[in-house]
């Protein structure tokens, strides 16, 4: 076949990167071969893996296109675009999604990637923050996360984050909800088994924001966590609840060294 389209060649480059990541030899921080952790990518069927690997079939890439346009677009009273401060996205945002949540300079609360984008909106661009799960916020997050593809998850070693991370670990381990389950009950004790026919993944946040087929749209890690809370019949938290960021901090530490595959497709 003489298929030489730009899309096709991009796809093969990505497929090669991903294959590299999946065979536990990512570029900078290889996981030992006996590491039991793996991305939810490996729990999916072959069709879904192909959908994620092909950048012209992965619907998340539609949102990346929107994010790319927003990156260049001036906004707010400051009249600045993301690119005005951060310039070339491939350099400035490489590995950024792999290390968030983090503490912004001078702040006393950590923020996740979406929170950081909204901080830039309100403080630098002097524009109103994007609503949670809005296509604009998800598009920008996906565009930024794409720059960390294949990069190992590398949470910052900032000691100020440790108390938040331990709150996150407590949330992860404590039972809650009417079904009396903890995150750990499924994602540690029963990962790899099935829950009503669906495989239980290990719960590593390697691919967020994800295009989830059930949602028919892109969604953040927060939305996924809310989904789990509802599933265990626990009380959902408000979108701005700091418990999400604490839990995200712990999940990223738990996935340390694993390769990012954002923006991923999940069933």
């Amino acid at each position: 076949m003489t298929r030489l389209g730009v899309g096709a060649s991009l796809v093969s480059v990505f497929a090669a990167t991903l294959a590299l990541a999946q065979t536990t030899t990512p570029t900078t921080a290889p996981l030992p071969p006996d590491d039991p952790r793996h991305s939810g990518y490996r729990d999916m069927g072959a069709e879904l893996r192909r959908m994620q690997d092909d950048d012209t079939a992965n619907p998340a890439m539609l949102f990346v296109q929107s994010g790319q346009a927003l990156w260049q677009q001036k906004a707010g009273a400051a009249g600045k675009s993301c690119a005005d401060c951060h310039q070339e996205v491939a350099q400035s945002m490489k590995g950024v999604a792999a290390r968030y949540p983090a503490l912004p300079p001078g702040a006393d609360q950590p923020v996740d990637l979406e929170g950081r984008i909204n901080l830039c909106r309100t403080e630098r661009q002097k524009a109103p923050a994007f609503a949670p799960e809005s296509p604009e916020l998800l598009g920008l997050a996906a565009y930024v996360a794409l720059q960390s593809r294949g990069q190992p998850i590398a949470p910052p070693d900032d000691p100020a984050l440790a108390p938040f991370r331990s709150v996150g670990e407590a949330i992860y381990r404590d039972r809650q909800g009417q079904l009396n389950l903890s995150c750990s009950s499924c994602h540690d004790d029963n990962a790899g088994k099935r829950l009503a026919g669906a495989p239980i993944p290990q719960g590593h946040p390697t691919g967020y924001p994800i295009y989830r087929l059930e949602w028919q749209t892109l969604g953040s890690l927060k939305r996924r966590l809310r989904n789990c809370l509802v599933g265990m019949r626990a009380e959902g938290w408000d979108w701005d609840d700091p418990q999400y960021v604490a839990l995200e901090l712990y999940l990223m530490a738990r996935a340390r060294g694993m390769a990012m595959d954002a923006p991923a497709v999940r069933p």
Binding site: T56, P59, L62, Q216
Partner: protein, 106 residues
């Protein structure tokens, strides 16, 4: 401006069968769901997708409310001459999206 991703070969041999894949951002709202106010959310779907090769139609399909959001279409064509493959989506609420790709047939 519609958000479209098209995967088609840039070159093909004469007589070769080529695959053209097209993905478009669209909610495909069925018209059967109710919103938070209890009222029906009006139907908003893509009704028709068509493809032409140098103006001659090579593929057409009608879409239904049962098709999921962001529809992905893949179809095949026989490469006969160099030129332009034009894709066109039309639907509810005056939705129109067009995308063109060039192909060289040798």
């Amino acid at each position: 401006m519609a958000n479209v991703l098209v995967n088609a070969p840039k070159t093909a041999a004469k007589g070769e069968t080529v695959e053209i894949k097209a993905l478009i951002l669209h909610p495909m709202e069925t018209g059967f769901r109710t919103g938070t106010n209890g009222r029906i959310i009006p139907r908003n779907i893509i009704e028709r997708f068509s493809a032409t090769w140098n103006g001659a139609e090579i593929f057409r399909m009608d879409l239904s409310p049962a098709i999921a959001a962001n529809p992905f279409v893949s179809f095949f064509a026989t490469a006969s001459e160099s030129g332009t493959i034009a894709l066109r989506w039309t639907g509810d609420e005056g939705f129109v999206a067009e995308h063109q790709v060039a192909i060289t047939v040798t």
